[in-house]
């Protein structure tokens, strides 16, 4: 009985994890600019990973190794938003302007905006040239 419950819980958790990761993937593909993509990347994905890792912890049983899953969960919950912040901050410093509803810029424009503003690899930064 308790085993059945556990298997059921595992399946539910895995499915929830898959669902939220699916939302994250959809968001990364559908949303218009890097800022809004960072939303789903940091959030839906973190929750999806959380559910899936909870399922793994449940399957491995409490004790021997499952605390590593908890550790993993902890890391993901701290590092994911920080990474998303770092990425969006980098985008902001490069002068990529957030997309708004009445915006008709294309991907091409966004790319060029980022290229003009950055010195990240483009040879505009004179000091770096040998």
């Amino acid at each position: 009985m308790i085993e059945t419950l556990r298997v059921g819980a595992i399946i539910v958790l895995v499915v929830l994890g898959l669902f939220f990761t699916f939302v994250s993937a959809t968001g990364v593909l559908r949303l218009p600019d890097v800022y809004s993509r960072a939303h789903t990347a940091s959030q839906a994905d973190t929750l999806g990973a959380g559910f899936a890792l909870a399922a793994v912890a449940l399957a491995l049983g409490f004790g021997t190794t499952s605390y590593k899953t908890v550790l993993l969960l902890f890391f993901i919950f701290i590092t994911n938003p920080t990474a998303a912040h770092a990425i969006s901050r980098a985008a902001d410093e490069q002068g990529i302007e957030p997309w708004t509803t009445d915006d008709d810029r294309t991907d091409r424009d966004l790319y060029e905006a980022s290229e003009v503003e950055t010195d990240g690899g483009v040879a505009t930064n004179g000091g770096e040239q040998p």
């Binding site: 060029e112 290229e115 990240g120 690899g121 483009v122 040879a123 505009t124 770096e128 040239q129 040998p130």
Partner: protein, 182 residues
Amino acid sequence: MITPFEAVLFAFVLATAITTALLRDVLSVIVVFAAYSLGMALFYAFLLAPDVAMTEAAIGAGVTTLLLLLTLVQTVREDDNRTFEQLNIPALVVFGALLVVLVATLTEFPEAVGSADAPAWSNPAVTQYYIENAFADTGVMNAVTAVLAGYRGFDTFGEAVVVFAAGVSILIVLGREVFTSE
């Protein structure tokens, strides 16, 4: 029998590898290459080689990215708006020829290589020989070390030379500015 997981993983690794080759922007290539190493780490993990997977994780996601970025700092990139490389026909021909040679060689290998009937597996005496005689033959306590540094010492020596050369090249690339700016 190939599992669905393996099939998808194959597709992923192939996609990342091809994209790495095709993308024009070096920074993007570094990023995509990190994705490739994700796939490879998963492969090793799936093949139950956790130590190799761990190395791939550390090298692929961590060290390679940092080294490539540090190298990129020292270089100047041409400003180019194309996303993908143009196909270079001669290079493609060379690549195709190499592929044909490799595939032909691989299929012509004797069955023994990699198969379950390989002498190392089917004939436990081979393994047993190393276990029993490694110390007497080479004087090395650890059997793995004995095989690496003794029985196939030339091979290992070649590897060491390659790794050493790579290390020296990295130092030269990273240290270039120090040498020139003084």
